[in-house]
Amino acid sequence: MKRVPAPADQQPDSFAFTAENLEVAKRHIAKYPPRRQASAVMPLLDLAQRQHENWLPRAAMDAVAEMLEMPRIRVYEVATFYTMYNLAPVGQHFVQICTTTPCWLRGSDDVVSACKSKLGIEMGDTTADGKFTVIEVECLGACVNAPMMQINDDYYEDLTAASTIAVLEALAKGETPKVGPQSGRHTTEPAGGPTTLREFMGDG
C-alpha cells in the first residue's frame, strides 16, 4: 500500500523535541563517533514520531536533519523508506494486522473482518473519532503465535475474531488489555501445553 504524506494543511509549522526527549536524542547521538552523528537518524525519527502522536510531520524530519547536520533530503529518504514511520496522522491505537502466509493460514482473514466490522472502517482508514487506524502489514515475526496484530508497541497474538473484538473493545474503553497470546497459552509454548521438560514445572 502506497504511503501518502500528510497534505500541507495537516503539517504543523514547527517541531521541537521536549527537554526530556532532547536528552534522549543526545544519548542516541553520543553512541556514534564524532562527525558520524547522522547514524542516529533512525532512533531520532522514532523519538520524534513518539512525541508527535505517532506520526512524523515534515517539520520533525527537518528538525532531525538540522540536529544531525545532514541534508534534509537524506532524512526524507530514510523516513519514506521505512514503513514504520507514519507520514500522515494515525489513530490513537495504530492497529497493524499481519496477513502474511502463516497468519493467513491460521485465520488472519477473520481478524481483518472482525476489525473492519467492529470499527466500521476499511483497511487503511481511521475511525471518525480518531481512536483507531487499521492497516494490513507484512510479517511481523510472530508466526509461532499466528494470527497476530500489533497495536502501537504491543503484540496481540493467537487471535480469533472474538478475541480481536475483545481487545479493540477494551482499548476503546480506555482499558489496557493483556498483551501477548489471547488464547491463554503462555508465550510461545505449544498450543496444547508443554510437552518436554515437564519435570521442571513441578507436576512430575
Partner: protein, 700 residues
C-alpha cells in the same frame, strides 16, 4: 596491474579499474544506464551485466573491480540474455510514449531497447504511474518515465554540491525528487537533463521544440562568463533552440552552467536588427549609410582635435576581432581613451600573468590550499567552482575566503574559513600574522584567486599588489607551479587585455571616460556592446552603440549599429586562463545586423582611414602578428609574471560581490524570459515552490 581477458583480448589495467572501464579501453562498448564516468558507481540498472568465467551468474561490469586472470565475455548468450532480462524489467513500468517524449531520438533507453528489447510485452499487470515533480523553471519532468538510475541524485549531490534530490519511498514506489517540491538551488541544474538517460528530466525551455535530427549543430564557445565553456549550438534555421555542453577536459569537462544553457531564448528577443539614428530625441530606423553619415558628421564637427574628444568602451561579450578593429580605428582617429574594463578592474598591462588564471582550471585539481579574495566563484564562474568542489571533495584542501561572497554564511558548495571581509585581512595574510598565511606557506602548491570584487575598486591596484605579495611570500610561484589567479567574469576581458584595449598614454579608463563625457570633455563615446556602465553619467555626449540587444546602451544611444551575438559570428574569445578559443557561427544575424568587425571596417572606410583587412583571414593574420598568443588556438600562451599591482594604501571597505543577479548578468540574459523567471524565483521575491506545469514563459 591485473591482466584479464575480455572477449578473447588480453588487457592489463590498473587494479582499481572496473570491468566496464577495462572493456572500454579495448573499445568494447557495454550498455549502461546508471553508470556515468564522472559520478559514483550505483550498479542499480543491471544493464551492464556480462558473463564472467567461474562466476555462478552474470556480473554488473560497472561495479566489478578487475581481477587477475578474469575471463569476461560481453556478448555471449548468457550476457545477452541477462541484458534482455534487465531491459524487460526496465520497460515494465516505462511508458511507450516515445512519440511525445522530448528525449526521443537521443534517448539511451530507446536506443538500447532496439538492441535488447523484446518486440512484445509479457507484462499484463498495471503499470506504475508517478506524479511529476517540480524541480524549478528549467527542468521539465515526466517521472513515470524514470528508471531510477539515480544519476541525477548523484550529480546533484556530488558535482553540483546541492543535496536536494533524493530517492524517496521504496521498491516499486521509489520516486526521484526533492520530496518537498521546491526548485533546485543550483546553477548547474541543466546538466541533470544531460545525465538523465531517459525522458524523465528534459529541458523545459526546449520542450516540444524540435527533434534532434532537425537541428544544425555547431561547435562553439560560450560567452556568458569568462570560463569559455565549450558548447554545441543547436539551430533550426536561424533560431537557436538550445545550447549543450561539449566535452573539454581542461575547461568545462562535460558540464555547462544554467545561464549559458538557458539564456538562448534571449537571442531571439529585443534584438537590434537594423541601424537607428536619434532624430529629435527619438530613435528612428535608418540605413547603414545614414547611420554612418550621422557619426561621420559628428566626428567631422569636432574639428582638429577630434582624437581627444572621442572614446570607446568594449563590453563583456565582445570578441577579440571586433575589439582589435575598434582599437585600431580609434588609434587611427587619434584617440587614446579606450578601455575594455567595464567593471573598472585595475588590471592589465604588460605582465600577462598579472591578469590570468595562471593555475589553469584543470590545475585546481593539483592545488593543496586555496585563498579566495573578493570573489564568489559559484556565481562568477560556475564551472571553476565545480572544479574547486571536485578538488575539495578529494580531501586535504583547505579553502579560505576574504570577502566577495556576501558574508560567512554563503554556500559555495564546499566548506571554507571566512577570514574577513576586506583588504585588512588580506594584509594580515601578507605579513604572516594571520593563521592562514602559515597554511599557505606550508602547502606545496597553494593558490590564490582574486576576483573582480577585489580589483574593481579605486584601490584595486593596491589590492592586486597585496595579492601578488601573498603569492610571492607563500611560494605560490615556481617554475612548475603558478598559484596566482585572477578570475574574470567577462568573456571579452582577457582578450581585450591581451590586445591592449586599454587607455593609451594619458588616456582615460572607463570611469574617466564617463566622467569626462559628463563634463563635456568627451563628445563621442563608442560602446561595443557595453551595457553595464553608468549611462546617465555620459551627459550630453554623442553615443554610438554597436551591439546586438536593445539594452541599456541602445536606450542611451544616438546611433545604433546592429551587431552579431556570439552565436552569429566566427570570432575569437580568450577565457580567464588565457586560453584562445574560436567560436563559430551557428546562425546569421537578424535583419541588417552584421558581424562586428565588418561594421568597424566599413566605417573606417567612411572615415577614410581604412583598416588593413578585408576579410576574416586577413584580420586574423593581422591579429596574430600584433599579438602572437592569438594564434595559439585552444592553448594558454605564456603568462609572464612581474611586478604588477601598485603599492599603495587600501581602504577598509569590504570586498563586495560584483554579481547582483546571476541570472541577469548581461544583455542576452536580460532579454531572456527563462532567465527572468529564474531571477524572480532565485534572486527576487518569487516563492521557491510551485506545481508542475507552471508556465515558464517559454511555452508556445
Amino acid at each position: 596491474m591485473p591482466t584479464l581477458t575480455i572477449n578473447g583480448q588480453e588487457i592489463t589495467v590498473d587494479a582499481n579499474t572496473t570491468v566496464l572501464q577495462a572493456a572500454e579501453e579495448l573499445g568494447i562498448e557495454i550498455p549502461r544506464f546508471c553508470y556515468h564516468d564522472r559520478l559514483s558507481i550505483a550498479g542499480n540498472c543491471r544493464m551492464c551485466l556480462v558473463e564472467m568465467e567461474k562466476a555462478p551468474k552474470p556480473i554488473a561490469s560497472c561495479a566489478m573491480p578487475v581481477g587477475e586472470g578474469m575471463v569476461i565475455r560481453t556478448n555471449s548468450p548468457v550476457a545477452e540474455k541477462a541484458r534482455k532480462g534487465a531491459m524487460e524489467f526496465l520497460l515494465i513500468n516505462h511508458p511507450l510514449d516515445c512519440p511525445i517524449c522530448d528525449q526521443g531520438g537521443e534517448c539511451d533507453l530507446q536506443d538500447q531497447a532496439v538492441a535488447y528489447g523484446r518486440n512484445d510485452s509479457r507484462f499484463d499487470e498495471i503499470k506504475r504511474a508517478v506524479k511529476d515533480k517540480y524541480l524549478g523553471p528549467l527542468i521539465a519532468t515526466t517521472m513515470t518515465r524514470c528508471i531510477t538510475c539515480t544519476r541525477c541524485v548523484r550529480f546533484a549531490t556530488e558535482i553540483a554540491g546541492v543535496e536536494e534530490l533524493g530517492a524517496t519511498f521504496r521498491g516499486e514506489e521509489t520516486e526521484i525528487g526533492t520530496y518537498i517540491e521546491e526548485a533546485l538551488t543550483s546553477e548547474l541544474s541543466g546538466n541533470l537533463v544531460d545525465v538523465c538517460p531517459v525522458g524523465a528530466l528534459t529541458n523545459q525551455a526546449y520542450a516540444f521544440a524540435a527533434r534532434p535530427w532537425e537541428l544544425n549543430k555547431t561547435e562553439s564557445i560560450d560567452v556568458h562568463d569568462a570560463v569559455g565553456c565549450n558548447i554545441r549550438i543547436d539551430c533550426r534555421g536561424a533560431e537557436v533552440l538550445r545550447v549543450l555542453p561539449r566535452l573539454h577536459e581542461d575547461v568545462n569537462e562535460e558540464w555547462l552552467s544554467d545561464r549559458s544553457r538557458y539564456a538562448v531564448d534571449g537571442l531571439g528577443l529585443q534584438r537590434l536588427d537594423q541601424p537607428y539614428v536619434r532624430v529629435n530625441g527619438k530613435l528612428q530606423p535608418a540605413s547603414w549609410e545614414t547611420a554612418f553619415a550621422a557619426i561621420k558628421a559628428r566626428l567631422d564637427g569636432l574639428g582638429e582635435d577630434a582624437g581627444g574628444k572621442i572614446a570607446a568602451i568594449a563590453g563583456d561579450m565582445a570578441d577579440v576581432e571586433a575589439m582589435l578593429a575598434l582599437k585600431e580605428l580609434f588609434i587611427a582617429l587619434g584617440s587614446t581613451d579606450i578601455d575594455c574594463r567595464q567593471d573598472g578592474a585595475k588590471i592589465g598591462g604588460k605582465h600577462r600573468g598579472g591578469y590570468l588564471f595562471n593555475t589553469s582550471i584543470a590545475g585546481i585539481e593539483d592545488a593543496d590550499a586555496l585563498l579566495l579574495v573578493g570573489c564568489n566563484p559559484r556565481l562568477e564562474a560556475t564551472l571553476v567552482n565545480a572544479r574547486i568542489r571536485k578538488r575539495w571533495l578529494a580531501g586535504g584542501f583547505p579553502v579560505a575566503v576574504i570577502g566577495g561572497v556576501g558574508g560567512p554564511g554563503a554556500d559555495l558548495t564546499y566548506k571554507y574559513d571566512y577570514l574577513g571581509a576586506g583588504p585588512a585581512t588580506l594584509a594580515e595574510v601578507v605579513d604572516g600574522s594571520h593563521a592562514f598565511a602559515k597554511i599557505l606557506a606550508d602547502a606545496e602548491r597553494p593558490m590564490i584567486i582574486v576576483g573582480s570584487g577585489a580589483v574593481a575598486r579605486d584601490d584595486g591596484a593596491a589590492v592586486l599588489e597585496l595579492a601578488r605579495n601573498v603569492a610571492e611570500k607563500t611560494n605560490m610561484i615556481s617554475p612548475d607551479w603558478n598559484g596566482f589567479n585572477v578570475l574574470h567574469r567577462a568573456a571579452s576581458r582577457v582578450g581585450g587585455l591581451d590586445i591592449g584595449f586599454l587607455p593609451g598614454d594619458g588616456g582615460r579608463d572607463v570611469a574617466g571616460i564617463v566622467d569626462a563625457a559628463g563634463k563635456g570633455e568627451i563628445d563621442l563615446v563608442w560602446l561595443l556592446g557595453a551595457d553595464e556602465i553608468d549611462m546617465a553619467g555620459l551627459g550630453d555626449a554623442f553615443v554610438v552603440y554597436q551591439g546586438h540587444h536593445g539594452d541599456a546602451g541602445a536606450h542611451r544611444a544616438d546611433v545604433i549599429l546592429p551587431g552579431a551575438a556570439y552565436t552569429e559570428k566566427d570570432a575569437t574569445w580568450v577565457n580567464t586562463e588565457g586560453r584562445v578559443q574560436l567560436g563559430r557561427r551557428a546562425a546569421y544575424p537578424p535583419g541588417d545586423a552584421r558581424e562586428d568587425w565588418t561594421i568597424l571596417r566599413a566605417f573606417s572606410a567612411i572615415m577614410e582611414q581604412p583598416l588593413p583587412y578585408d576579410n576574416l583571414q586577413q584580420l586574423r593574420h593581422h591579429m596574430v602578428e600584433v599579438v602572437p598568443s592569438m594564434g595559439l588556438i585552444d592553448e594558454v600562451g605564456p603568462g609572464e609574471m612581474g611586478a604588477f599591482g601598485v603599492a599603495g594604501d587600501v581602504d577598509g571597505a569590504a570586498f563586495e560581490s560584483p554579481i547582483d543577479d546571476y541570472y541577469l548578468a548581461n544583455a542576452i540574459c536580460r532579454a531572456s524570459a527563462v532567465m527572468a523567471d529564474c531571477s524572480r524565483l532565485y534572486s527576487g521575491t518569487g516563492t521557491n515552490s510551485g506545481s508542475t506545469g507552471g508556465a515558464t514563459g517559454t511555452d508556445g
